[in-house]
């Protein structure tokens, strides 16, 4: 489903963020990307979210080369991808409900459908009782659960998470990972970038280790 064919990504002055990387991720996989800071984990996620394109090689998702998508095709592609970031990226001046409902709203879903779907996912992440709270009134774990609710409200086929537990303690991290496992159990492909090896060990899924932009280990 996702195929990186010898992709490289260079930035100014020829610095390689990714170098000649090839990777295959099947539909419904749960994959960790790990490695030290600067290994290229976030760069690979940026390419998968089509915020950037490879300098060399091809990144294929489904049957589409992401570099060749038109702006409108990029929009359509992103509607099939959910994302979760370390810093949550919630809008502080909107309530939990509004943050999650923003996605179906801007995608033109009918009001009643928006509300039903938003309530469903908030209930699923256990935050139906905090719908009218603002993000800054929530704990870190709760904020990340709101971010996860927002990521899945549109039923994406891929979830990308960049250090989603970076700001959380070990117990909360495992709780968040359990949510990702449940999402994956429904058939959604989940790709999580983390440098937390202990967490990877506890979750026990396939992991791809990067170093200096190259794959050094797959377990």
């Amino acid at each position: 489903m996702i195929e990186a064919q010898r992709i490289s990504k260079t930035y100014a002055r020829g610095v390689y963020a990714l170098r000649d990387l090839s990777l295959h991720i099947y539909k419904g996989d749960f994959v960790f990307l790990t490695g030290p800071s600067g290994a290229g984990k976030s760069t690979l996620l940026r390419l998968l979210l089509r915020r950037d394109v490879p300098s060399e090689g091809r990144l294929i998702v489904g049957s589409r080369n992401l570099a060749e998508l038109t702006p409108r095709q990029v929009q359509a592609y992103r509607r099939s991808v959910g994302f979760v970031f370390q810093d949550f990226k919630l809008l502080p001046n909107k309530t939990v409900l509004e943050n999650v409902a923003l996605v179906p709203r801007v995608l033109g879903m009918a009001d009643s459908q928006q509300q039903r779907r938003t309530f469903q996912v908030l209930k699923w992440v256990g935050l139906q009782h905090r719908m009218s709270a603002y993000p800054l009134e929530l704990s870190g774990g709760e904020q990340q659960r709101v971010a996860i609710a927002r990521a899945i409200v549109n039923d994406p086929v891929i979830i990308l998470a960049d250090e989603p537990t970076g700001n959380l303690d070990p117990d909360l991290s495992l709780e968040i990972m359990n949510l990702f496992r449940e999402i994956n159990a429904r058939g959604t492909t989940v790709i999580v970038a983390t440098h937390d090896r202990e967490l990877i060990r506890r979750v026990g899924r396939r992991s791809v280790t990067l170093n200096q932009g190259q794959i050094v280990e797959v377990t």
Partner: protein, 296 residues
């Protein structure tokens, strides 16, 4: 419809968040449109004065007291054959004196104290409306009439009206330049306010882009923000203009009615006020769009 509601709800919330800067943009637009409206009101009323005076403008041929009937006949024929005159009236010395007494009753006794009648007989010619602007032809007629025997003087009102028209035209051009500059300043102010709003909402824009929101959804609120600012500025300008207009009319209305006749000073017609309102919204829309099109 849902999209429009979203655009305007977001735009209103964003304006409220940055209300200080938004107020500045609204006032800038209001100033620009107020000046435009002021020139429009001034222009339409001045134009009415000029038209009214133009309609009553006459060419007067004052006759010597010793002018013979043949000379009068020649003058009458020349005026008739020129093709420029719609109506010609002969005013005898007696009629001129009677008119003076009627127009200036306080001075009537003075006129009676004089030896004889000092007022000359005259021909009053009313020009055809379609030749009023043909200055060359009328000037030729004036010259020809002046050199005719029996003529003491020829007075032509159009010359100062032409000068007045030139002043009005000049004022209109100067007004257009000022309005264009203020319009540009207003659009730039709106663009800057919307740019501030875009900076304040960059996280939201990023999230919208990441979830694949259509461009219209990402950009729409900025355009709506510009339209709201422009509309508010136009409404403010119209209110200020109306307040100023009615204040001036209550003070100088009587004098203006004498000059204009009938209705006196008039405010902007509703269609022109509507165009001003739409113009303000278009100006705001332009400012918003300039920022929105950079959001990709």
């Amino acid at each position: 419809m849902r999209a429009l509601r979203y655009f305007f709800t977001e735009a209103a919330a964003s304006l409220w968040r940055a209300r200080g800067a938004a107020l500045l943009a609204v006032v800038t637009i209001a100033v620009g449109l107020f000046v435009l409206g002021f020139f429009l009101v001034l222009n339409s009323n001045l134009q009415r004065i000029v038209s009214r005076w133009s309609e009553s403008a006459e060419l007067s041929i004052y006759l010597r007291d010793d002018a013979t009937p043949d000379q009068l006949k020649s003058l009458d024929e020349m005026a008739g054959q020129s093709g420029l005159v719609a109506q010609r009236d002969y005013i005898s010395k007696e009629q001129a004196l009677a008119r003076f007494r009627a127009d200036f009753p306080d001075l009537a006794s003075t006129a009676g104290a004089l030896d004889g009648n000092p007022f000359p007989a005259s021909f009053e010619l009313r020009l055809r409306s379609d030749v009023r602007e043909a200055a060359g032809a009328v000037d030729g007629l004036v010259t020809a009439l002046s050199s005719m025997p029996g003529v003491a003087d020829v007075r032509y009102d159009r010359q100062w009206l032409t000068r007045l028209n030139a002043v009005v035209r000049g004022a209109r051009i100067a007004g257009a330049i000022v309005v264009a500059m203020l319009g540009l300043a207003a659009a730039m102010t709106v663009a800057n306010v919307v740019r501030l709003a875009a900076a304040a909402r960059r996280d939201e824009i990023e999230i919208m882009q990441l979830v694949g929101a259509p461009f219209a959804y990402v950009r729409g609120p900025f355009v709506a923000e510009g339209i709201l600012q422009g509309g508010a500025g136009a409404v403010l300008a119209l209110l200020a203009l109306a307040a100023g207009f009615y204040a001036v009319r209550s003070r100088f209305g009587a004098a203006a009615a004498d000059a204009l006749g009938g209705s006196g000073l008039t405010f902007l017609p509703i269609p022109v006020a509507a165009v001003l309102l739409l113009g303000g919204m278009a100006l705001g829309c332009l400012g918003g769009y300039v920022v929105a099109r950079r959001v990709r």
